[in-house]
């Protein structure tokens, strides 16, 4: 099976580990070979959390610079920081709601304009899908459902070989029961936001 490499970047606490877990379980359900790797440990200390998900027959669980086919960023500056993972054919999906790191408040570094981030990413990759996913998550009922909004958008691009139905079934079976409806709604909002 052709290999598809996906990188997800987020700020610790934004819930990207659940996104990769749901994608992995959905792939298992659909019989799609999948391998992932994550760097844990500092996730709750406000650092960057990066997940690599490899679909297909490759054995590596790590994605080298320049080799991600899809990049999903939960935060605009983190999307731009992860651009080195991309190639000219990469599809990029990014949330546009910034979470400026505390170093900015300390006067160490400045946060670039979100428009500039979009321009840079769009100019270097095949497709950029950029929107305020946090707003859609709020609309679904919980700003923490940001991960499901972005998952919906990702599925709509057709760039990952996992069927939509398998993802929805996994959201039902493996996310906390109190949040299932919100999660499904957030997933649907993200899905509907993107044109195929």
């Amino acid at each position: 099976m052709h290999t598809t490499r996906l990188i997800i970047v987020a700020v610790g606490g934004q819930g990207n580990l659940l996104t990769s877990r749901v994608l992995g379980e959905a792939a298992l359900l659909a019989g799609v070979p999948v391998r992932m790797s994550e760097i844990h440990g500092m996730a709750q200390r406000g650092g960057v959390v990066e997940s690599a998900i490899v679909f297909g027959d490759a054995l590596s669980t790590v994605i080298s610079d320049g080799e991600a086919d899809v990049l999903v960023g939960f935060e605009p500056v983190e999307t731009l920081r992860a651009l080195k993972k991309c190639h000219a054919g990469t599809t990029v999906i990014t949330n546009l709601a910034p979470l400026p790191p505390f170093t900015v408040a300390l006067g160490k570094g400045s946060y670039p304009a979100v428009e500039r981030i979009q321009d840079l990413v769009a100019a270097k990759t095949a497709r950029l899908i950029a929107f305020d996913a946090t707003q859609l998550a709020r609309q679904a009922g919980n700003r923490m459902a940001l991960n499901m909004v972005l998952l919906g958008a990702l599925l709509r691009t057709g760039r990952v070989p996992v069927p939509q139905a398998a993802v929805e079934e996994t959201i039902r079976s493996s996310t906390k029961s109190a949040f299932v409806e919100t999660n499904l709604k957030a997933f649907a909002l993200g899905y509907a936001h993107v044109s195929a």
Binding site: V11, G12, S20, R21, G24, E25, L28, P33, V34, R35, M36, S37, E38, I39, H40, G41, M42, Q44, R45, G46, G47, V48, D57, A58, L59, S60, T61, V62, I63, S64, D65, G66, E67, V77, E78, L80, R81, L83, K84, C86, H87, A88, P100, P101, F102, T103, V104, A105, L106, K108, G109, S110, Y111, P112, R116, L120, K124, T125
Partner: protein, 617 residues
């Protein structure tokens, strides 16, 4: 029932590497397991701890890795399958026990898992623990994948029981923290009641006994070598005159590179999973079939040097390379593109790498380093120490935990960190070598782990230092594991005792002991000033629960704070505390109410008292 206890052989599950290893322990019928938590091994223990609560399998968080190894060594010698888990540097702590345990051997199966951390994602060094197998003379297995990690646990126990030797199972972060689909195997019912059959001439290592035991150790190693020759964990693939020898996660990268380079027909592969002792005969045959060999292994040239020695003994003169200019590095971790590039260059294979993106116009981005959480009690303690030592020239030896992050500005509390417990020992040395003041930091779990001998030393030798024990009531960094100071009843866990740090410190003979609540800034500064002025050893225990832990226990009741109109933009709050709840709106400081936990530290720091609790709507 715990998800790793489900008895459905053949079922497929998506598991984290560390979950797969815990499942492997279940399938192997492990009766006793012990650890001191450390990334990247921690989730194995977390699962085994949960499993121990609902079965008769025993698990414990030991005070340190040496104790954990002693616990499991005894259990194994009473006949029980026992598993000892630690991160790579933990094996340094356990090394004293390990070296002579290798002489003594085991009666029941004993597997020691060492989780190495190439690239130091969360460690103070990237030492290659494969050398411990060589140093101690122990058999070692190394998995390449999550599924193989599961399979190697029962195999390691079989090997241990066959050889009567402890077996090292060496993983790396990219196995521990990868996730993949595994097929569950059958569960062996654990034997949980052991019996220790006395045999002092095998177990009591006085010199006369050890001289005999060393002979037996070498005999076991020879037998292990024979088993390595036949082990299915050492296998070959492909053919051709170009040879690659690899281990661990590098195997996946080599496998993918061979696909990408379409070089399967030209390259012969030897994957080693039973890596000590190495299967010398098998390697000799492999070398004889090759014109040129590349060794792909992260870390040190462990296999490369051994393979060169094997070639020399067999009078084989083919080029064998691994580490070196234009080839692989001894630094950090490898990745698929790096392995592909080196293989293509070394073997002169054609490759068409996609052009890298030109990122020269991307501006410098603000850094997002890990930091102490909003409301972290360590921040409050560090601030108080900073205030209490204003105007003094102070050295701050620190230790291993979340609080190590305090070394970053603006707190800048941390000048010397090498290993668990070293804050106190190094404080003793600094206080003798220099006239600078010494105020050291250690966490509660680290204090129990290896801080106490240092403190006894400080008292006995009458050093002049202040030790601040950051008692946040849990082992926070690695995910809130219990330690001897934790109130287990709060976690609804019975059958434990609690060791009181204040009582211990006093009993160790420290003459000046005080306890502060760090969110009370003024009182804390006063108590610290007094302790620092005390000639001799003084200890200040800063007691406040880890914010994340308190939240998990539903004990976090603070209200978020806000910056009111009284603010004159001094920015003392941001500049002195660097709490991640602050952000700038234009040039005004704001507090993110979603992040603020209401610790009120900044409210006490603000010269205008402009930071107030947020009114609830």
């Amino acid at each position: 029932m715990h998800r790793l206890l489900i008895d459905q052989p053949g079922a497929k599950r998506l598991l984290l590497g560390n979950e797969a290893i815990a499942r492997g322990a279940v399938e192997a019928g492990v009766a006793v397991a012990a650890t001191y938590p450390g990334t990247p091994s921690s989730e194995i223990a977390l699962n085994l701890f949960q499993i121990s609560r609902e079965t008769d399998r025993y698990f414990e968080y030991s005070t340190n890795e040496k104790v954990a190894l002693e616990v499991t060594a005894a259990a194994a010698n009473a006949g029980l399958r026992s598993l000892c888990l630690m991160k790579h540097v933990g094996l340094n702590v356990a090394a004293d026990a390990l070296m002579t345990l290798a002489y003594v051997g085991t009666r029941g199966g004993l597997v020691i898992l060492t989780a190495d951390d190439p690239a130091m994602f969360s460690s103070q060094n990237e030492q290659d623990n494969r050398y411990y197998a060589k140093l101690a003379g122990l058999p070692m297995l190394e998995p390449s994948s999550v599924a193989e990690a599961l399979a190697m646990v029962p195999a390691a126990f079989d090997l241990s029981e066959k050889l009567h030797a402890p077996v090292l199972l060496r993983t790396t972060t990219r196995v521990n923290h990868s996730t993949a689909v595994v097929e569950l195997g059958p569960i062996r019912t654990p034997v949980t009641a052991g019996y220790f059959k006395k045999d002092p001439f095998s177990f009591v290592t006085v010199p006369a006994v050890s001289r005999q035991l060393h002979v037996r150790l070498l005999e076991r190693l020879e037998e292990a070598g024979r088993l390595a020759e036949a082990s299915p964990f050492n296998f070959e693939a492909g053919d051709g005159r170009l040879g690659v020898v690899c281990n661990g996660v590098s195997y996946g990268y080599v496998h993918d590179a061979l696909e990408d380079l379409q070089a399967g027909g030209r390259v012969r592969l030897l994957r080693l999973g039973f890596t000590h002792p190495l299967p010398e005969e098998r390697i000799r045959r492999f070398l004889a079939a090759c014109d040129k060999v590349l060794v792909v292994e992260e870390g040190e040239p462990f296999m490369e040097e051994a393979i060169r020695a094997i070639a020399q003994a067999a009078a084989l003169t083919l080029p064998i390379r691994g580490k070196g200019a234009g080839l692989f590095s001894r630094l950090y971790e490898y990745d698929p593109a790096m392995v592909r590039r080196v293989m293509a260059a070394y073997f002169a294979l054609p490759q068409r790498p996609a052009p890298a993106l030109d990122l020269s116009d991307v501006p410098a981005l603000p850094q997002r380093p890990p930091t102490l959480c909003a409301g972290c009690s360590h921040r409050a303690t560090f601030y108080a120490v900073k205030k209490a030592t204003e105007g003094l020239d102070v050295i701050h030896p620190s230790d291993i935990g979340c609080y190590t992050l305090g070394f970053l500005p603006p707190l800048s509390m941390g000048d010397f960190v090498i290993c668990m417990g070293a804050s106190i020992g190094s404080a003793c040395g600094f206080s003798r070598a220099s006239r600078q003041k010494v105020v050291a930091f250690i966490g509660d779990s680290t204090f129990f782990h290896s801080g106490m001998p240092g403190l006894v030393n400080a008292v006995f030798n009458n050093h002049n230092l202040t030790l601040v024990i950051l008692d946040n009531r849990t082992t926070a960094m690695t995910g809130h594991q219990p330690n001897p100071g934790v109130d287990m009843a709060e976690l609804q866990l019975e059958g434990f005792n609690r060791v009181d740090i204040e009582g211990v410190v006093k009993a160790l003979g420290v003459a000046h002991v005080s306890v502060i609540r760090p969110y009370n800034v003024k009182k804390s500064i006063a108590a610290l000033r007094e302790a620092i002025a005390f000639p001799g050893v003084s200890v200040v225990i800063s007691r406040e629960k880890c914010t994340l832990y308190a939240r998990g226990l539903r004990q976090l009741h603070g209200r978020a704070f806000t910056v009111t109109d009284k603010c004159r933009n001094h920015r003392e709050c941001v500049d002195a505390l660097a709490c991640p709840a602050f952000y700038l709106e234009g040039d005004r400081v704001r507090i993110d109410a979603d992040i603020c936990v209401g610790c009120a530290l900044c409210a006490q720091v603000c010269p205008e008292h402009a930071i107030q609790p947020l009114r609830q709507e």
